[in-house]
Amino acid sequence: MSSSQRAASIEVEGLVKQFKKGPRAVDGIDLQVAPGEIYGFLGPNGAGKSTTVLMLTTLLPPTAGSARVAGWEVATDGARVRESIGAALQEAALDPFLTGREHMRLQTSLHGIAKAERMRRGDELIERVGLSDAADRRVGGYSGGMKRRLDLALSLVHGPRILFLDEPTTGLDPQSRASLWEEVERLSKEDGVTVFLTTQYLEEADALANRVGIIDRGRIVAEGTPAVLKAEIGEPSLEVVPAEPDRREQMAAVLQRFSAGGDCVHHEHGSVGVRLKGGDAAMAGVVRALDAEGIAVASLQLHAPTLDDVFLDKTGRSLEGSGDDDEKAGAFVADSERAVEGTPA
């Protein structure tokens, strides 16, 4: 990275969002994202990811703290921030009655792109996201993946330097997800676009992000490259499925004796996981201990540390399925309060 690129694209200090009728959705976060970097903002539902994105994209005023995007303060220079960013927020925000090309025409016009340039730019982006064949079809008939790709293309019409993607692959099939990942990587590597990407998918953060910030209950609990974060955990985790489901608790008690720290995790699909003290070498001891208790095992797998292990280590909970209720409550509060606490532009 050259010295001219060192100034951060996104700088956040002590950012807080306190909803009047709800929780402190974002509780004093600090982060910096360098130009051209893909920053993965990873956390369970309701952790504060979308609220952070809404603040950074100027759509929600912060309660406290400061955030600078492309060098502009989000609280006071909203229009300048919006000129510099593109955003594809949660749910592809499209009009089902318009075609892909009509969306492009509207978006390029609203961004003030010269008339002669509009069609060329729109066609170029439609082709880039692989929607040329569907460009004249109404969006209501698009698949989820096509909608997401169009959403991405629309966020790029004005050539933003910074792109916010809020859970861009949620609900997509693996093929559509891979296609979108490819495009995001290309934007970062070839065009030098800074990408701030929120996700609840570990593999997405692992595969795409140069650096990851893990957020839980409004606070960043870990930050670094995926490799460094996983290396900090050190110990692998063991996941065991009992042959008799009703002996799960008894099995968990045995596994707890081999824990490198933290409680066993009960996964929804019936297995119990534990971070294994002593790594691979402790496996034999686990098997002997289960055998001694007469607990038959249906399957037993040793995993290298994942970002879920990092989350577990920092919060004591597994990322999977964590925070669903918080998200529903938080989303309701955020939506209703955005309608009553507004400030004119």
Binding site: P61, G78, L89, E91, A93, F97, R105, G112, A339
Partner: protein, 259 residues
């Protein structure tokens, strides 16, 4: 108004028109339902025209004003539902992330509804005349009638916009429809105020803003030009607009809280 603002408004207006035209479920009832009611009333209540003091030459010429007012109600429901959908799908956030002005947003969204109002006006007038209604004010009267229709649709459309920005969901906006229908029925829709026997009903009908709009529309159909009635009708539409425009902007400011 700058060229850029004009472009914003015209592109949003274009979108509004396209979207309206592509929703037959919104367009067809907005045209057929008022005509259906018109046909039932004209056929079932035609004897009312024989009451002493009934001002219109026949009941058909009296009741043809009703579809024009109902167009206003459909404007509330249609525009409100479209905007609520934009809020629910996040499309409004997409618009808020562009340099689009708030004036541009509200004005542009109105275009499809106003165009539909004009189409409704032309169809209602054509069918009314074909059915035998009189129209005393000629070609100039047609122009004024369509202008009044636009003013009514604009005023009621602002109610829909306000509700959509305030409530943010289509169901709540649709809930206004029956409420506004009550206003329609508690007016001089079916009979002139003088011929309404019930005191409380007559008192409400006399002061109901909808009755003033009816008088303005009807003045173009029979009795020659009545400037006072037209001024009152346009005036009521202007007052409703003057009340709901700032409310719509306020609700928009609360909904789109960009810094």
């Amino acid at each position: 108004m700058s060229a850029y603002t004009r472009t914003q408004i015209s592109e949003l207006a274009r979108r509004s028109l396209v979207r309206t035209a592509r929703q037959p479920a919104q367009v067809i009832p907005a045209i057929t339902f008022p005509l259906f009611l018109f046909a039932i009333n004209a056929a079932g209540l035609d004897a009312a025209a024989e009451l002493p003091g009934f001002p219109a030459p026949d009941y058909l010429t009296w009741i043809i004003a009703v579809p024009f007012m109902q167009a206003g109600l459909f404007a509330v429901a249609g525009l409100g539902a479209d905007l609520a959908r934009d809020i629910e799908t996040g499309f409004l956030d997409r618009l808020a992330l562009t340099p689009l002005s708030r004036t541009g947003l509200v004005s542009g969204q109105m275009a499809g509804t106003i165009a539909l109002g004009l189409v409704q006006g032309v169809i209602f007038l054509a069918i009314g005349l074909a059915a035998g209604a009189t129209f005393d004010t000629g070609a100039a009267g047609v122009v004024v009638l369509l202008a009044l229709e636009v003013a009514i649709v604009f005023a009621f459309g602002l109610i829909g916009i306000t509700a959509a920005f305030r409530f943010g969901n289509g169901e709540a906006v649709q809930g206004l429809f029956p409420l506004l229908f009550v206003f329609l029925f508690l007016s001089t829709m079916a009979l002139p105020a003088d011929l309404i026997e019930n005191d409380w009903f007559r008192a409400i009908a006399e002061h109901n803003p909808v009755s003033f709009m009816f008088s303005g529309i009807r003045s173009l159909f029979y009795g020659g030009w009545d400037v006072a009635a037209l001024a009152e009708a346009f005036g009521v539409a202007a007052i409703i607009s003057a009340i709901f425009l700032p409310l719509a902007v306020r609700a928009l400011n609360a909904r789109v809280v960009r810094t």
